[in-house]
């Protein structure tokens, strides 16, 4: 049986007395009466921690790399105290059949009560043979593991949207998780990778409240993906003032002006980078002088250059953007109108000459 929170706290040297103090303090700060103290204590003593199975599909492990750098809360606390990370083939000590057996065990023991976190996505071409997990196509493992899960977390752009392995022409048919698993609640945490604190934040929320966080239209937690990079960007005043970096080496770049003209995708990207920043708040792309590339948006790898705003629309032409296609159309229409006017004028002048006599006859 998985340890309860109380057992974990006791193991870490917290006394029963301190534990009870914590419970009464929690009840007080939540505005609950003293009658709730034993209830909170009871819950912490008896509620088993939710087991999490972390699967890896077609991915680069950048999500895991990000996750283990979480500062608030520290990853060690999340992994060792808060959740029961029962299976994660890159982090766990067990290997081979021993490791694979854990999935089966969790599925049986916690049927309908565990969370599956998926990093990467299943490729579907050639019966899924492009990604093999423990000797079997990953897509099969994913479907089996998710069958009895309570909820699924799609880590990163891979699981959420497909990411670079799904870029055109997508030879392996890499497919986002929600298109393979359609009958479970899925939390999408996009980004390449997602911010570490966003990842641990989502996990913490789900464990604390025992429900999935409020999601937006695209299934992303509103609390982290409710605003654009642009909305909280510290360079936003330069955008409104009309002050832009025009070249990577110009004075404006040194002064830290807005990177909009250099193709920053901040205004079209929903993520928490500009408010939470990266690596424990050290920095983030715009702060280090490069525009946002929009890595947490659907199809960012296939939607034109990272270095222009009016960017390519691939459906029209290889190098076609709204201005080139539309401007050309407007130019052609303008030229056609001018030519039409010229022909009209000529035709009219000619018919006037020919029809002078007839016309005068027509009009009584």
């Amino acid at each position: 049986m998985t340890e309860t929170f109380y057992e974990v706290l006791r193991r870490q040297g917290i006394t029963r007395r301190s534990f009870m103090k914590f419970c009464s303090l929690t009840a007080t700060s939540l505005g609950l009466g003293s009658a709730f103290v034993p209830k909170i204590a009871h819950a912490l003593e008896n509620k088993p921690r939710t087991p999490v199975i972390w699967l890896h599909g077609l991915e680069c492990t950048c999500c895991s790399e990000s996750f283990i750098r979480s500062a608030h809360p520290l990853t060690k606390d999340v992994v060792l105290s808060m959740l029961s990370l029962d299976y994660d083939d890159t982090l766990m000590a067990a290997a081979g059949h021993q490791a694979e057996a854990i999935i089966e065990e969790v599925k049986k023991k916690y049927k309908g009560n565990y969370i599956v976190a998926v990093e990467g996505n299943p490729p579907l071409n050639e019966d899924g043979m492009f990604c093999i997990h423990g000797g079997r196509p990953f897509v099969e493992v994913l479907k089996e593991t998710c069958a009895d899960a309570k909820a699924i977390i799609s880590w990163g752009a891979c699981a959420s949207y497909g990411c670079v392995q799904a870029a055109k022409p997508n030879p392996t048919r890499a497919t986002p998780v929600h298109k393979v698993i359609t009958d479970k609640p899925i939390v999408r945490v996009p980004g390449c990778p997602p911010i570490a604190e966003v990842m641990t934040g989502v996990v913490t929320y789900m464990l604390t409240f025992d429900k999935i966080p409020e999601l937006d239209r695209q299934g992303r937690p509103k609390m982290f993906y409710g605003q654009r990079i642009h909305d909280k960007c510290y360079r936003r005043p330069h955008f409104d003032a009309g002050q832009f970096v025009e070249n990577w080496d110009d004075d404006a770049a040194r002064k830290g002006y807005c990177l909009y003209k250099m193709g920053c995708k901040g205004p079209t990207t929903y993520n928490a980078c500009s408010s939470m920043r990266w690596n424990g708040g050290v920095s983030w792309p715009v702060q280090s002088g490069h525009g946002c590339i929009g890595c947490s948006e659907d199809g960012f790898w296939d939607k034109g250059s990272f270095y222009d705003r009016v960017t390519d629309i691939k459906q029209f032409a290889i190098e076609g953007n709204a201005d080139k296609v539309g401007g050309t159309a407007a130019g052609v229409v303008g030229a056609a109108v001018a030519a039409h006017a010229a022909v009209t004028a000529l035709a009219r002048a000619r018919s006037d000459k020919q029809g002078d006599n007839q016309n005068s006859g027509d009009k009584q």
């Binding site: 937006d216 239209r217 695209q218 509103k222 409710g226 605003q227 654009r228 909305d231 005043p237 330069h238 955008f239 409104d240 003032a241 009309g242 002050q243 832009f244 025009e246 404006a252 002006y257 909009y260 003209k261 995708k265 205004p267 079209t268 990207t269 929903y270 929009g294 948006e297 659907d298 199809g299 960012f300 939607k303 034109g304 705003r309 009016v310 960017t311 629309i313 953007n321 709204a322 201005d323 296609v325 539309g326 401007g327 159309a329 407007a330 229409v333 303008g334 109108v337 039409h340 006017a341 022909v343 009209t344 035709a347 009219r348 018919s351 009009k363």
Partner: protein, 234 residues
């Protein structure tokens, strides 16, 4: 039905009466306000996508793009309210006011008139015909390149506006669905800009055709949109 009615009206009246009242005051007023709003929208929109050169001085002393965006949003509201008013007028106005909202596509005669106008514009017909409202070709163009496109611009525009207002704002609740449907915010921006170019191409054709028909078809077009009366010159 509509165009047939128009044509009969024009042919009958064209000889006897010199003018017919076509565009009622609200339609005319809307036309010019809408035209102005569209000019402001196109120019400000162009500079939102491709901003002007960097402003010198402190950020706190400048608000250039802020003002440009304000102009865009203000004109957009006028455009939207005007369009809503115009839709209302299509219900209560005269039958000409409904022309740009519905096409008599099941009317064979109307289609033959469309092709007549096409031949006329291709210099294959010698004599123009007279119409009281839009000619059928113009009606077809107005429907697709103005009415349909205008609603497209409205939906994408307010969806993008909703991004600034934030999740749960009225614009997000009413139009937020547009963004995932079109494949993301960037894609919506691109299509909105492309729509602007199509609209401006149509404006060129629209103005040209109005001037040309005013001269060639011996009936008033431009002054009709000012006074409301269509004059027949012979």
């Amino acid at each position: 039905m509509l165009s047939q009615q128009d044509m009969l009206e024009a042919e009958r009246h064209g000889r006897q009466v010199r003018s017919i009242y076509v565009y009622e005051a609200p339609v005319r007023l809307w036309h010019w306000i809408n035209a102005l709003a569209m000019v402001v929208l196109a120019v400000s929109g162009y500079f939102i996508g491709k901003p002007l050169p960097t402003m010198p001085g402190e950020a706190s002393d400048n608000f250039l793009l802020g003002y440009i965006r304000f102009a865009h949003f203000a004109a957009a509201y006028i455009f939207a309210v005007g369009l809503a008013g115009r839709v209302y007028w299509a219900f209560v106005g005269n039958h000409h006011s409904r022309q740009i909202f519905k096409l008599p596509i099941f009317n064979g005669h109307w289609w033959s008139e469309v092709f007549f106008e096409l031949r006329w514009y291709l210099f294959l017909e010698k004599q123009p015909k007279k119409y009281v409202g839009h000619n059928p070709m113009a009606q077809l163009m107005m429907f697709f390149f103005f009415t349909v496109l205008a609603f497209g611009m409205l939906c994408t525009g307010f969806a993008l506006y909703g991004e600034g207002l934030g999740l749960g704002s009225w614009a997000d609740r009413l139009f937020g669905w547009v963004i995932p449907m079109l494949g993301g915010s960037m894609q919506t921006h691109s299509l909105h800009r492309l729509g602007m170019w199509i609209m401006m191409s149509f404006v060129v054709v629209h103005v040209y055709a109005a001037i040309r028909e005013d001269i060639m078809s011996r009936q008033s077009l431009i002054s009709t949109m000012i006074s409301g009366w269509r004059m027949f010159k012979d």
